[in-house]
């Protein structure tokens, strides 16, 4: 089990990341709000606990790999990378601006530390599987874990399930999928747009070790990741149940915040809401 101080530290980082995301989005004037806020604990745990990485050496051949497949949640990734030291936090305010390294959707060639270019949905799990395959079967000298975060709406894409079959066939035990299960997508509730449940049963049927957890709970995520990393004969899927817009009361659970940013006033009150949430 994780020490309470470690959980507190990661929860505090998640709050810092949310604060950055709200400021970035308000400054940019466009972008997605709900997904990045809901992902804060997942990203905080990844970049400040689980990933083996060195921001000073983004091409370190021994690093673990993190792929953000649903690239529209980029603000939370950028926030984590800046707070971890990949680039100055001031640069976060350039999100989506002309000339910025922080493109609207992650572009690998623009920013050291990004593993892939993403945004068009459905591609990340395959790319992760390709990297995991090399580590597992071709270059065993470099044992690395490959983590792929996906949106739940993204699972509508057939490419995902092609990748799921592939990873199971080749027993990619070093591949861990993180499904951001927030039940919203652009047109509405996932179960109305294109039902996914029973989602855990689907992943199990595809041959994956499948774990469900509260994706906004640091301790829940740490336990799930520990279990997934211990499974070596097949890939693992962590279905992380998250609250879209988590931490900002007027955004939580509301799919209308999927694809729009807060105004500056809304961002200020949202940051106040985060402080209140922290004291709760």
């Amino acid at each position: 089990m994780s020490a309470p101080e470690e959980v507190d530290r990661l929860e505090s980082i998640a709050r810092d990341l949310r604060r950055s995301v709200l400021a970035m989005l308000a400054q940019a004037g466009s972008g997605h709000s709900a997904g990045p806020l809901g992902m804060a604990e997942i990203i905080a745990v990844m970049y400040f606990h689980t990933l083996r990485h060195d921001p000073a050496r983004p091409d370190d051949p021994d690093r673990d790999i993190f792929i953000l497949s649903h690239g529209h949640t980029a603000p939370i990734l950028y926030a984590a990378m800046a707070h971890a030291g990949y680039f100055p936090t001031d640069e976060l305010m350039t999100l989506r601006r002309l000339g910025s390294r922080l493109q609207g959707h992650p572009e690998r060639t623009a920013l050291p530390g990004l593993e892939t270019t993403s945004g068009p949905l459905g591609c990340g799990l395959s790319q992760g599987a390709g990297i995991a395959y090399v580590s597992e079967h071709l270059d065993r000298s470099r044992k690395r874990f490959v983590y792929v975060a996906m949106g739940d709406g993204e699972l509508n894409e057939g490419n995902i399930w092609e990748a799921a079959m592939f990873a199971a066939k080749y027993r990619l035990g070093n591949l861990i999928g993180l499904v951001d299960r927030n039940y919203i997508q652009i047109d509405g509730r996932t179960e109305e747009v294109m039902p996914l449940d029973d989602l855990a049963a689907k992943w199990r049927a595809f041959g994956w070790h499948t774990i469900e957890t509260d994706g906004n709970s640091v301790s829940g995520l740490l336990a799930a990741l520990g279990e997934a990393r211990a499974v070596s004969d097949r890939p693992s899927a962590i279905i992380a149940h998250t609250v879209p817009g988590r931490g900002v009361d007027f955004m939580e659970y509301d799919y209308r915040w999927h694809g729009k940013p807060p105004t500056k006033d809304q961002a200020l009150s949202a940051i106040d809401a985060l402080e209140a949430d922290a004291r709760r």
Binding site: T109, C123, S126, Q127, I131, Y133, S135, D139, N159, F166
Partner: protein
């Protein structure tokens, strides 16, 4: 001696499927560089990856009938330092997975090689669904992508080797049925280069892929009528060898392109873009004109679409005659 050696006579050339050259080239590339891996979507023998699979079984990856996964897994392997060749019928890759190629190979700038076998009318009896005619257009609009349509199996082997080491995304256009071999082991091949393979003064015949041999036949027929055609072989459609093409166009003042593909957006369009911007020149583009193919033997289809050497000579003759009036 010509700078580009070809066979001594076009009367009775040896034939071999272009894809066979890819199969040999991939084995050579794999032997030369252990980063080369091969991924196939359930068409290993058809696309000629089986020789690589036998020689380097640990570096061959079967992905099943899943062309989107084919390219995206390859993108990941490239990120992990490998040089992945992916193969399927061109109708499916790049036919089905264009966005994945754009995003995860080209924009992501990873050296993923898309090998489309079974292109053009040459697919024959399988019919329009499997006759890929739009691939040149689809691939050449993508930034970072290199597009190669080898003229025969010997050149396909060289092109495969070249793509293995050029460090960028690439598209290699192959054909199923045997086609004439007109290059030799000594013929040069460099990505991005076009070659004058027959000198002439009256017009420039520019061919890519299987069409270059037909242009050699057409030039021979035209020669007997007193029309002296220059023949350029343009295996690399992107980047286009502007200097060689413009020099020939400046000399002859009439350019004819031929491709076993849709004229719209294809090789002829690439030449049209070049000439209209740099050296407006009378241009005739031969290929498939805004229609689909159909079942038939490859040769029957070339005749129906007016793309045999004899048909091309007749079409060119009509243009030249009109031009002289």
């Amino acid at each position: 001696m010509s700078a580009f050696p070809t066979i001594s006579s076009i009367e009775d050339p040896a034939h071999e499927p272009i894809r066979f050259g890819f199969g040999r080239g991939l084995v050579r590339a794999g032997a030369a560089d252990d980063r080369v891996v091969a991924l196939c979507a359930d068409l290993t023998e058809s696309t000629q990856m089986h020789a690589f699979k036998e020689r380097f079984p640990e570096r061959f990856i079967e992905v099943g009938v899943a062309e989107q996964n084919l390219v995206t897994v390859a993108s990941g392997m490239a990120r992990a330092g490998r040089i992945p060749f992916t193969s399927s019928y061109a109708a499916f890759s790049p036919g089905r997975n264009w966005e994945q190629i754009k995003t995860t190979a080209c924009l992501n700038d990873q050296p993923v090689k898309i090998v489309g076998s079974h292109t053009g009318l040459n697919v024959g009896p399988d019919g329009a669904t499997h006759q890929m005619l739009e691939d040149i257009a689809l691939m050449r609009v993508l930034p970072n992508m290199v597009v190669v349509a080898p003229g025969d199996s010997i050149e396909a082997e060289k092109a495969t080797m070249a793509l293995a080491s050029n460090g960028s995304p690439g598209y290699l256009r192959l054909a199923r049925d045997p086609t004439p071999i007109f290059t030799t082991d000594e013929s040069p091949f460099t990505l991005g280069r076009a070659y004058v393979i027959r000198a002439g003064t009256d017009l420039s015949l520019l061919g890519t892929g299987t069409m270059t041999f037909e242009l050699l036949v057409a030039a021979e027929v035209l020669d007997r009528t007193g029309v002296h055609a220059e023949v350029l072989h343009v295996p690399t459609v992107k980047p286009l060898d502007a200097r060689t093409i413009l020099a020939s166009a400046a000399k002859t003042g009439l350019v004819v392109t031929a491709e076993e593909a849709q004229v719209a957006g294809g090789f002829g369009s690439a030449v049209a873009e070049l000439l209209s911007a740099e050296l407006p020149t009378r241009l005739v583009r031969l290929g498939v004109e805004d229609r689909f193919g159909e079942s038939g033997r490859p040769r029957e289809l070339l005749e129906k679409f007016g793309l045999t050497g004899e048909h091309i000579a007749a079409r060119v003759q009509a243009v030249v005659t009109v031009g002289r009036k």
